[in-house]
Amino acid sequence: MSLAEATSGERLSLEIPPDPAHIVTARSFASGVARSLGLDDETADLLRLALSEVCSEAIEQRRGGRIVVDVSADTPLARVTVVATGVRRDQTGNHSIEATFRRSLIEALAPGATFDEQQERLTVSFTLSAA
C-alpha cells in the first residue's frame, strides 16, 4: 500500500514504558510505519530520529507513567503525536545541555512541532512532510 492508498486518518500506535532501553522500539516502530505508509528512505530516517528525540525528552523529564506514540496518515504525509504521562522530574525548569540540543533538533526536523507541558502530561505533536 502506498501512501496514496492509505486511508486518511488510519492510525498506528505504540505504547512503551519510559525507559531508555525502549527507545529502540520507538525507532523500529518508525521503520515499520515508514514502510507501510510508503515513505521514502530520507523521510523514514527523519521519523526515526524525531521519535528517538521526543521519547528521550519525555523520558528525561518524567518518572513512571507511559509513552504513547500515535501516527495517523494525514496531509502531506502523517500527523505524529507523542503523549508522555508520569510525574515531572525537573520542577525548576532548568534544561540540561542534552535537552537544548534535543529541542533544536526536533525544531529542525519537524518545524512547527508543538510542546504542551503539564504537570503529569507532556504532549508533542508535529506534521510529517517529505524530508
Binding site: 531508555p20 532501553a21 527507545i23 529502540v24 525507532r27 530516517d45 526515526r48 530520529l49 528517538s52 528525540e53 528521550s56 523520558i59 528525561e60 540540561s96 545541555i97 542534552e98 540540543f101 534535543r102 533544536s104 533538533l105 529542525a108 526536523l109
Partner: protein, 117 residues
Amino acid sequence: MAETDDMDLTLEDQTLGSWSILSVAGELDMHTSPALQERLEALSVGDSPRVAVDLSAVPFMDSSSLGMLVANLKRLQERGGELALVGVTGSPQKVLSITGIDRVIPAYGAASELPQD
C-alpha cells in the same frame, strides 16, 4: 586493544601514533551513550591525551551523545589534549551538522588523516 560489548553497542580502542582511537559500532541513543561516555573518560588520562571517536559503524545517532562529546572536548582541551571525530557520515553527520557541533569538534575522513605532529 580493549573491547566492550553490551549487545547493543561495541566499543574498541587502539592506538595510532599519538592518538587513541575509539571505534563505535551500533546505534547511539540515550540507552547506549553512557557506555561511550565511560570509555571516553577512561581514555582521557595522562598528559595531552588525543582521543578520536570513529563513528563510521554508527548507523543511527541522536542528540543523546552530543552533550557528552562537547563536555569531553572541553575536558581534553583543559588537559592540553584534543578530541576528534573520524568517519562521520549519514545519521551522525546529520545530527552534528543540524546542531552545529561539526563546527566545534574537528572531523577527519579516516584515522590515517589524523594530524600526528
